[in-house]
Amino acid sequence: MIHLSKEKTKLMVAVHGWSGILLGLLLYAVVLTGTAAVFAEEVGIWSAGHVRTTSAFARPLDSAIRDLAAHTPERFHEGVNLFEMGDHDLGVYFHRDEMAGGRPITRGVYYRIDAEGRLASAQRGTDEEIFGPSNDDALKTFLVDTHVRLHLPNPWGLLLTGILGLAMLVAAISGLLIHRHLLKDIFTLRRSANPVLVDRDRHSVAGTWSLPFAFVLAFTGSFFSFYGTVGVPIVAMAAFGGDVGALNETVYGNPGKADPRPAPVGNLDRIMADATRRAGGVPTFVGIEKFGRADAEITSYHQPAAGDLEPATLLYRGATGQFERVKPAIGTRASAGGSLVGIMAPMHFGNFAGLLSKAVWFALGFAMCYVSLTGFRLWLVRRRGEARSLDWLDRTVTTVAVGLPVALIASAVAFIIAMPEGTAVFWTPAAFVIASAAVIAGAALMRSPAAFERALWLAMAIGMLILPPLRLALGGPGWAAAIDAGQPIIPALDLAFLAAGGWLTWRTKPRRAVTSEPLATLMPAE
């Protein structure tokens, strides 16, 4: 497709291959957990047995908020965030902005109100102290945290995943550059050829078909990782002399004439009803700035309208409850930059059109995991004739490729067992670590690589098969109860695990032995 000189093609092959080998296993972990995290919300509903379908924003909340405000110190009325937690409970966070070690943080009081309107919990502290995993969303939080920062502390985890995003970008672009006959080869999967060509075809066909998305996900992923850690401080330094608060206010704030006179906030129930009617759906998040002042502003965020990518955002005058205007998610008025930032999240998360877009993104994530693994296999198979000392790398690839999903399933099993006891926050990641250690021990001790791989696939199959009956046995809602409550996600995921586990069990039945063929000599571009 793109004709580079032989020398440059060799260089691009080296860049593509070595970036893949050095960072590929970590990248695979990020892509695999990202694939699972596409359905993080659904996994949260299924694992915790959440059957409520009425949004917290569709229930009366005005008097509860006023009551909480009266009991919260006024210094935390700078901002109030409203969002859903757990099984459609309402999270209310009264807070103020502060700086800690040069980093912007928030400090305040966080309340959780259950579906019956009762105060379920109250916590004080900074956002980092308060917003960790809770018992009923520990599995969902674990999945997302692994993907976003590989459980490393900020900023190192985000920097690492950002670098992995750039590595994926390099792999996508270099892959495009080195493949001379990208479109001619797009349907060719040789089966009865030597292993190098077979793996090469598998890798390039899957890679070509998923190339646009590999590029988009690498680009948006590295944007998210570097945005807060590196980007914002540098842009704030260049444009505002280092004042990150001023940058955030310019990008996200609603500038207007300051009026600090006390004024009670407008009726929040009426505002929620109006916002729901205008946007065609309940809010996903509500922010109240300058609570209790005459210049208070209320911003309500909604899922995108059908066909759109960007979330819908409505602005209300806080003191009167009067609708002011539809505003873009970023900036006070529609702009190219605001739209560009606004579409980064939908393009990365695939959550702009409900289950349909999520299903496509999930399948594409799976395709990218396949591309990573076939790339590894290709690199190893090419060198099989040269060095036996790469057996350890072959085993490492198997350990991560199949062992990682086994460990994730183990954490799901542990979550289901531990959640009713209230110990899920500890046992979910602990089970992951224990399962990972067991997989690594198996890799070290089992003599036969094929037997080791088969054992891992079987463990994955068994894990998937026991998840649904375990969930039911430990008090999770049955299919009839879930469907009656209008929550088909629960039986749908049960069926998905049973189907996947059954298929994997069938796939791991012993196959006939194969003979290896002599390796062909490949051209440098291959």
Binding site: L4, K8, L11, M12, V15, G165, L166, L169, V170, I173, S174, L177, A218, F219, S222, F223, F226, Y227, V230, G231, V232, I234, V235, M237, A238, A239, G241, L247, T250, V251, P328, I330, G331, T332, R333, A334, S335, A336, G337, G338, L340, V341, M344
Partner: protein
């Protein structure tokens, strides 16, 4: 420049060089990208584009036949955008001095 010197120069320009230049270009872009109707384009567009800027610098360093040209482009961008940022810092001090 000998073969291995040229290779090291290319590695430096494609590696730490591309990172440094991309970050300085991002900072400098805040000074010349038009702010747009919401007054934020000059702040958010560089933030969004920086991975692509880095990738362009990386592949340019890898693929351009002439290492001298790679160095000229990299240093030119660094000087131009670094200068824009420095000017922004100097301007308030100059106004204070007056």
């Amino acid at each position: 420049m000998s073969g291995s010197q040229g290779r090291w120069a290319r590695i430096l320009l494609a590696g730490p060089g591309a990172v440094l230049v991309a970050l300085v270009v991002m900072a400098g872009m805040t000074r010349w990208v038009p702010p747009g109707p919401a007054g934020i384009d000059n702040l958010v567009v560089p933030l969004v584009l920086v991975p692509l800027i880095w990738a362009a610098l990386f592949f340019h360093a890898c693929l351009d036949r002439s290492i001298a040209r790679v160095a000229i482009v990299a240093f030119g961008l660094l000087a131009l955008h670094g200068g824009l940022v420095a000017q922004a810092f100097l301007r308030p001090s100059m106004e204070q001095a007056r």
